[in-house]
């Protein structure tokens, strides 16, 4: 009896192994699994991504896309390790900047995409100015030179969401100068409304608010270009940056920001605005898809924070979402490139736009109805036509995020003066210039 059992066992084992041996090559031929990681976790954007992937799989029989959506923090903490594993994701979303894409390039973890860009004609539509943010020298130290490592599909710009019904009620129009914007805030405050909804408990929203004021004060792009490309030519402690810090303190002293903003999280702040608190919200276009279905979605418009002077130049914080990059050594490089090409296409762009998100790929605006989405697309087109897409300054040095967020909280609480604030930021910046060897 024992013998019989063991024969059966052996036979079935042999069968399993034999089947497995046959199954393996079959799988490699007919069923490829493309592993992709992205950070599109908010409900609306995640749903679009799933729909797009379903269409991609339909067009590529035998291909399965295994998608993992991770929050931005989680993605940042795990991507480097995952990309250095032979079983890591084939496609992963990577942030621009020295401590993200730069570090990954230096470690040889990303596939250069120049050949694919040429093959698929990406640069016919992708502006060279934006492409330079994805170019890195092999040592990961200099941005803007070297190979091309990733392409984003979503564009974003930081601007002001405003309640059209409240603007009408108080006789306000879209401001064309920073002074007009401040006057509008004063009017709203006098009427008992919260002029600007803002929450800085999570610390990073402060970067956007400060940078937008800073962009207005600077009124040109030369300084910022030098600053972000860390050429060693410029410092942070310039009068414009001090003036911007002083202006931010003034807005707070005037009570123009949501009361208690120091203790309110980013998500709580925009949800308050979505539910009807306040007249304006300064944040990125990435929220449009979440704000539109809200109770006041039909009454929300969007404008770019105006320059100091009417029709004057002003950079606007913005750029693109995270890049889609390919892991060096992925066994499915060609398929991965095809996937990225599908995401950077007119079809995907239209799907994003239909759901209220801003695609990088240029879209036809003539068919757009008036409303929030159109406002944002027009704003983005304006930035592109005036070459005024600005920067997220937190990624200029690896430690800048920590430095700028903490010191902005100090500035907003009035614990440091504008001069002390720029000194702290400049110290971080200069330390990096020295380390890099350009000072």
């Amino acid at each position: 009896m024992f013998k019989k059992q063991s024969v059966v066992l052996t036979l079935s084992l042999v069968a399993v192994i034999a089947l497995g041996m046959f199954a393996a090559p079959l799988a490699a031929q007919g069923n490829t699994t493309l592993v992709v990681w992205d950070n599109l976790v908010r409900p609306e954007e995640s749903a679009i991504m799933d729909a797009l992937i379903a269409r991609f799989e339909e067009a590529h029989p035998g291909v399965t896309v295994a998608r993992t959506a991770k929050s931005t923090d989680d993605l940042k903490a795990t991507t480097a390790l995952a990309l250095s594993s032979p079983d890591g994701p084939d496609v992963a979303m990577v942030n621009q900047g020295q401590s993200d894409m730069g570090a990954l390039v230096a470690a040889g973890l990303l596939e250069p995409l120049d050949d694919y860009a040429e093959q698929f004609g990406w640069f016919e539509h992708f502006p060279a100015g934006l492409a330079s943010l994805q170019r890195w020298t092999p040592d990961g130290m200099q941005m803007g030179e070297g190979d091309f490592y990733g392409i984003p599909i979503q564009a974003e710009l930081v601007g002001v969401y405003y309640r059209t019904d409240l603007f009408e009620q108080y006789g306000l129009s879209i401001p064309t100068t920073l002074a007009e914007f401040e006057a509008a805030m004063a009017t709203l405050a006098e009427a008992g409304e919260t002029p600007l909804v803002f929450g800085n408990l999570d610390a990073w929203p402060g970067i956007h608010l400060y940078s937008e004021i800073q962009n207005a004060e600077l009124a040109s792009r030369e300084w910022y270009d030098q600053f972000m490309f860390t050429t060693g030519e410029v410092d942070f402690d310039i009068p414009e940056n001090i003036a911007a810090a002083a202006r931010l303190q003034e807005w707070i002293a005037n009570g123009w920001l949501l009361k208690g903003f120091e203790g309110i999280g980013y998500d709580d702040a925009w949800q308050l605005f979505s539910a009807g608190t306040g007249a304006m919200l300064l944040t990125g276009s990435w929220l449009s898809g979440e704000l539109l279905p809200g109770p006041h979605g039909a009454d929300i418009g969007f404008f770019v924070l105006p320059a100091l002077e009417e029709d004057g130049f002003k950079l606007t914080v913005g750029g693109t979402g995270y890049d889609f990059s390919i892991r060096a050594g992925s066994p499915n490089v060609d398929l991965a490139a095809e996937y990225i090409n599908y995401l950077y296409s007119e079809e995907t762009a239209q799907a994003l736009l239909d759901a209220g998100f801003l695609p990088v790929y240029p879209v036809d605006t003539s068919t757009l109805e008036d409303g929030l989405v159109k406002d944002i697309v027009l704003g983005w087109n304006h930035l592109n036509s005036t070459d005024s897409v600005g920067y997220y300054m937190d990624w200029v040095t690896p430690t800048m995020y920590d430095t700028i967020t903490a010191s902005l909280q100090e500035l907003m609480a009035g614990r440091v003066t504008p001069e002390e604030f720029v000194d702290v930021v400049n110290a971080d910046y200069v330390a990096f210039l020295l380390e890099k060897g350009v000072r």
């Binding site: 999570d202 120091e262 309110i264 100090e410």
Partner: protein, 305 residues
Amino acid sequence: MIDSSREMQRGNRLRALIPYLFVLPAFLIFALFVLLPILDTVRLSFFDWTGFSAPNFAGLANYIELWTDRLFITGLGNNLRFILFYTVFPIGLALVLTAVMTRRRIRGMSLFRAGYFIPYVMPMVVVGVVWRWIYNPAFGPLNQALGAIGLDALARPWLGDFDAALPAVGLIATWVQYGFCMVLFIAGVQKIDESLYDAAQVDGASAMQQLRHITIPGIRTEISVALVTTFIAALRIFDLVFVTTRGGPGDQTMVTSLWLYRNAFQINRVGYAATIAVAQSVLILAISAVLLRFTRTSDQEEVAQ
């Protein structure tokens, strides 16, 4: 004769090995998942390593940097401040509650006991999210309650306020820890001889005197356990700060674990993060050893008396 005794000796030796055999599987798992990572962390602390490129040997440079690292020192200072909220308040509160709950018959006592213990069982992330809502200045119940009783002047953006943030986070820790201390103390009180209290009562000792002279000496071991565990919790605090303030505003609630996390996962300085981990562990071990030694000698004194 000689042969058999040798055989017996061998048998004894083998028998002596058997207990180790039983410990072996557990030890292997412990070695693989605890010991090796610890040793590897110590090794890494002598390197400059981004986490994915080749590590460079750095000697003692990381350890020297610790002494001048403003954020590490700030973090350590805040860890020490958190001891007040992790250790001092919960143990004090738990002592009072223990005295009340064990000396009086209260209806539904087990319900209260379970209720006070629940915060300790809840995941810290959930606790953090709940308290972020309670502290929210726009719609949180705390400021609304203050407003309702006319104390608007006290309302503030708790977690974002430079003066209030650390105590606000600390109170959450107290809320979590006191239930654990209390359950520990109540268990300890149960082994104290009831006749001691009876005798004290006959002698006219007040409730406060009974607490001081009977209860506290009687649960000295439990107090020392509570001391050590809450102390360690204060020194390794991470999740609570991460969920509520991320170390802000400014660096008001920065703690060493959070600075470790940022170095490892945001600034790509894994070697230096390992150094912080080693320093933190050594500190925790040293302080625990002192605390344990201190409480042990006092136990022995008690026995001697």
